[in-house]
């Protein structure tokens, strides 16, 4: 699993930091997303996916790498 964030799209709602704090945080000054771990270990992937789903601004994307094995789940 590989993640990307778009800080310009981000509206700082904090849903990612709330849902998957091991993977996302918020900038202390402007509240926008900070990606702590762009390829989270299997134990954090379900939470990261949930964070992607609940992000209100669509600022988190899953990068699909050509040739890489399909992600489980």
């Amino acid at each position: 699993m590989e993640l990307e964030v778009d800080r310009e799209r981000c509206i700082g709602a904090g849903m990612c930091a709330l849902t998957a704090p091991e993977v996302f945080d918020q900038d202390l000054d402007d509240g926008r997303v900070m990606l702590l771990d762009s390829s989270p270990p299997p134990g954090h992937q379900a939470k990261a996916r949930r964070a992607l789903d609940v992000c209100p601004s669509g600022a988190i994307t899953l990068v699909s790498r050509a040739g890489s094995p399909a992600d489980p789940s």
Partner: protein, 402 residues
């Protein structure tokens, strides 16, 4: 070939008798058969009503649907005005779209982060303990709305913004009038003007003597007095009349579901999930609105530019496609993804503050009073059916004194 859209003649607002926590039954039928239906608004406008989770989310995430005040037709019963609403006043960021909205939001998001709000937990604990002590001293019965649900969030938002709590009677009364359908437009306008005058004076004072609080910080940003005043009105109003309803209605719901209440009492670690589930199950901000900026094809229909779309958060939050067994209150479920704080760029700015207040205040209340119960019958609890924010007007509670 698409079927012509189904038309509803008004926003369903009647909750099933004896079920104060359930949405109007008609919404469930619509969600199943016509999740996007045409709806006649009280002013005669023929717009749309969305009742499924997937479609409601799609609309609020789509920049072709606007939040601009002047484009909105209100779906709520009550005062009907033939005139179009004016554009949002400068600073009223809930009523504008990007990029205007983005400018305001960026000034504010850093002040409402998960971390910052969690750092306030200790203060929420102190405030809740003080109010629970006062309830104990007073003895049962007590109106939980007056004694606990309103003052705890009110004190928090006042301290955060830098608004004198001593003035609460004044601004609480006006904040309530703003969200009341039964108030005539003149009353609502008077309440807004009163709040605006109050905040304007406060803003000028903070400009003159900077203070270490949110409004004091914003006074140093590039904002006009009018913008800062309206931001203050918005944040104060939003902080006063939202979490208060969740605390009171949430307590009513827990008292009506003794098994769930026992689970929360037994395991305070359940608090985070309990808060999300209560937000989903109760959906106090039950209906949102957007207006189409251009023709948009959605679910086999075309929503024309200029048409208003009402979004039923309470129907979406009970959508079985998203939440299994949606009509059951289950504090153990994964309720994240509910639309009670909205979705899209306007998702609630204060949601992390609301979460901290609830995750502290609800467990503190139910563990302090192990025998907490309603002091009147459920049927007698006066419900806030006349507002775009649902809740209870009063919640008399009692407990056994030791």
């Amino acid at each position: 070939m698409t079927e012509p859209p189904y038309t509803v003649t008004a926003l369903p607002t009647m909750r099933p008798p004896g079920c104060p926590f359930d949405p109007p039954e008609e919404l469930a039928q619509l969600r199943e058969q016509h999740p996007l239906s045409r709806m006649v608004f009280p002013d005669g406008h023929v717009g749309w009503l969305v009742t499924s989770h997937a479609l409601a989310r799609a609309v609020v995430a789509d920049p072709r649907f606007s939040s601009r005040h002047e484009l909105m037709h209100s779906p709520f019963p009550g005062a009907i005005s033939a005139e179009r609403p004016p554009p949002a006043a400068p600073g009223m960021f809930i009523g504008v779209d990007p990029p205007e909205h983005t400018r305001y939001r960026k000034l504010l998001t850093g002040k409402f982060t998960v971390r910052r709000m969690r750092s306030l937990a200790a203060r929420v604990e102190e405030i809740t303990a003080e109010h629970l002590d006062a309830m104990e001293r007073q003895g049962p019965p007590v109106d939980l709305v007056q004694a606990y649900a309103q003052p705890v969030p009110a004190l928090m938002i006042c301290e955060l913004l830098g608004v004198p709590y001593a003035d609460r009677e004044f601004f609480q009364r006006h904040a309530l009038a703003l969200n009341n359908f039964d108030a005539v437009p003149e009353e609502q306008y008077a309440a807004y003007v009163a709040l605006q005058e109050y905040l304007h004076a406060l803003v000028l004072a903070k400009r003159a003597t900077p203070t270490d609080d949110l409004l004091g910080d914003l006074a140093r940003e590039e904002l006009t007095d009018e913008e800062l005043t309206n931001i203050g009105v918005l944040l104060l109003g939003a902080g006063l009349d939202t979490t208060a309803n969740m605390l009171a209605l949430g307590t009513f719901a827990l008292l009506s579901h003794p098994g769930q209440l026992a689970a929360l009492r037994a395991d305070p670690g359940l608090a985070d999930q309990a808060v999300e589930e209560l937000l989903r199950y109760l959906s106090i901000t039950h209906t949102g609105i957007r207006a189409a900026l251009e023709d948009v094809e959605l679910n086999g229909h075309v929503i024309k530019a200029g048409e208003s779309v009402a979004l039923s958060a309470q129907a979406a939050n009970r959508d079985p496609e998203r939440f299994a067994d949606p009509d059951t209150l289950d504090l153990h479920r994964q309720a994240t993804g509910h639309l009670s704080f909205g979705h899209g760029v306007h998702q609630c700015l204060g949601q992390q503050l609301a979460r901290v207040e609830m995750r502290v205040a609800l467990p503190a209340l139910v563990t302090r009073f192990p025998t907490l119960r309603l002091a009147i019958s459920s049927a007698e609890v006066p419900l806030r059916t006349n507002s775009d924010i649902y809740g209870v007007h009063r919640l008399p509670v009692a407990w056994d004194k030791e």
